[in-house]
């Protein structure tokens, strides 16, 4: 139990520090931004690499995302979102936009390239137990059917669209859409109780 409290405290402390750093960024403090980058870029690069499996795209994306974080630091609302949630949303959106654009380009020039990757492989969800929020989400994901759980995880972590999920998992598009819609509804209901 004390371990739990400790890690809770550590997370709270880290969040406070990230918030202070973002606040200093609004005052144009590049040193604070450098420290923010140091504390967060490993995690966010990991997130981007999952979505964009090419390193070159992932690096472009991370660069764009951090410039956005700097430019928008004064739009960050600490009372509405944890700093990592806010930053990872910027990074994910950047990655998803890039992915949609590049997928279109590759699809037009070399469509066979897109079928090579392992994007449809199952994602193990057992490690979701580190934080309280993670445990809650994990419990709620456990209540979904396993295919529902997998398409939601694949979509979130790898950036697959409905169509891609359908072709990668060999499931009809309509079924995928239903799984996701119902899965999200169930998840929301479960997390709110």
């Amino acid at each position: 139990m004390s371990g739990d409290n400790n890690s809770k405290e550590l997370i709270a402390k880290r969040n406070e520090q990230l918030q202070s750093l973002l606040a200093a960024c609004t005052l144009n403090d590049k040193r604070a931004f450098a420290q923010l980058y140091e504390m967060t870029s490993g995690k966010l690069y990991g997130v981007v690499l999952r979505i964009l499996d090419r390193e070159e795209w992932a690096q472009d994306c991370l660069q764009e995302a951090y410039v956005k974080i700097w430019n928008n630091a004064s739009s960050y609302r600490p009372h509405l979102a944890a700093p990592m949630t806010w930053m990872s949303s910027i990074v994910r959106n950047q990655a998803l936009d890039l992915l949609r654009r590049r997928r279109r380009e590759v699809l037009q020039s070399e469509p066979e390239k897109l079928l090579e990757d392992d994007a449809g492989d199952a994602i193990p969800l057992d490690n979701l137990q580190q934080t309280e929020e993670g445990k809650r989400l994990s419990n709620c994901l456990d209540q979904l059917k396993s295919q529902q759980r997998q398409v939601i995880a694949l979509a979130y972590l790898k950036g697959l669209t409905h169509d891609e999920l359908a072709s990668q998992t060999g499931t009809p598009l309509g079924t995928i859409k239903t799984w996701i819609r119902r899965g999200l509804e169930q998840l929301k209901g479960c997390l709110e109780t």
Partner: protein, 219 residues
């Protein structure tokens, strides 16, 4: 579109649906809250992602593109500014390159070592106050200042542990302002805010109760 917030955050909307949704999102506060809620719900899944150190050269590429002018743009919502930056991306990238080359070494960037977030009733940030070690100036940035009745302004005060209260000045409505620190700053210094008549500003003591009080936090 309204019920698509979850799928938008999940990332399954196709390109067209995604851009339509973002257009709506830019102005729809309810939808923005809905999206934030979904980001909150799903983000623990990112715990599954192992950190990977980005290549060493990436930071300097990012650093070269940082412009204080960009961080200065005022009081547009996050989504507005996001779309603004997306559209202006190309132009901005070119400008930054040009400005970056001409402005290197000219600017004097503050290295902030302590910050105070001035918050309102719903704990929303209104101003950020920062100090930097050797400077006798406070840097104050207006984030989302509260609406004031006509003719009223917010005055910032500083109180030291010995009880002396000094006026710092009127808080800015927008942008960043430097303000002289009126007395020796100590770790116990408190900052307080009162709402005053613009044309009868007190200099010794506030005429009204403080609406905010807080201290600096070391970064």
């Amino acid at each position: 579109m309204r019920d698509k917030a979850g799928e938008y955050v999940l990332g399954t909307l196709s390109g067209d649906e995604r851009s339509q949704f973002e257009q709506l999102l830019a102005t729809d506060l309810g939808l923005q809250a809905e999206v934030s809620a979904w980001e909150d719900r799903l983000s623990p899944m990112l715990d599954l992602v192992e950190p990977v150190a980005p290549p060493a050269g990436l930071w300097s590429q990012i650093e070269n593109r940082l412009e204080p002018a960009a961080a200065e743009q005022q009081s547009t919502g996050f989504w507005e500014s996001l779309i603004f930056w997306r559209n202006l991306g190309m132009v901005a990238a070119t400008l930054v390159l040009v400005l970056g080359l001409t402005m290197v070494g000219v600017r004097n960037d503050p290295a902030i070592d302590q910050v105070l977030m001035v918050t309102g009733e719903q704990s929303q940030v209104q101003w950020v106050v920062g100090t930097s070690g050797r400077s006798d100036q406070l840097q104050v940035k207006a984030i989302a200042p509260p609406e004031m009745p006509a003719g009223m302004v917010c005055q910032l005060w500083m109180e030291n542990p010995d009880g002396t209260l000094k006026l710092v000045g009127v808080l800015p409505h927008s942008g960043i302002q430097s303000m002289q620190i009126p007395a020796q700053l100590s770790s116990g210094s408190r900052f307080k805010i009162s709402i005053e008549h613009e044309d009868r500003l007190p200099t010794k003591r506030p005429t009204k109760d403080f609406v905010f009080e807080g201290g600096l936090t070391k970064i």
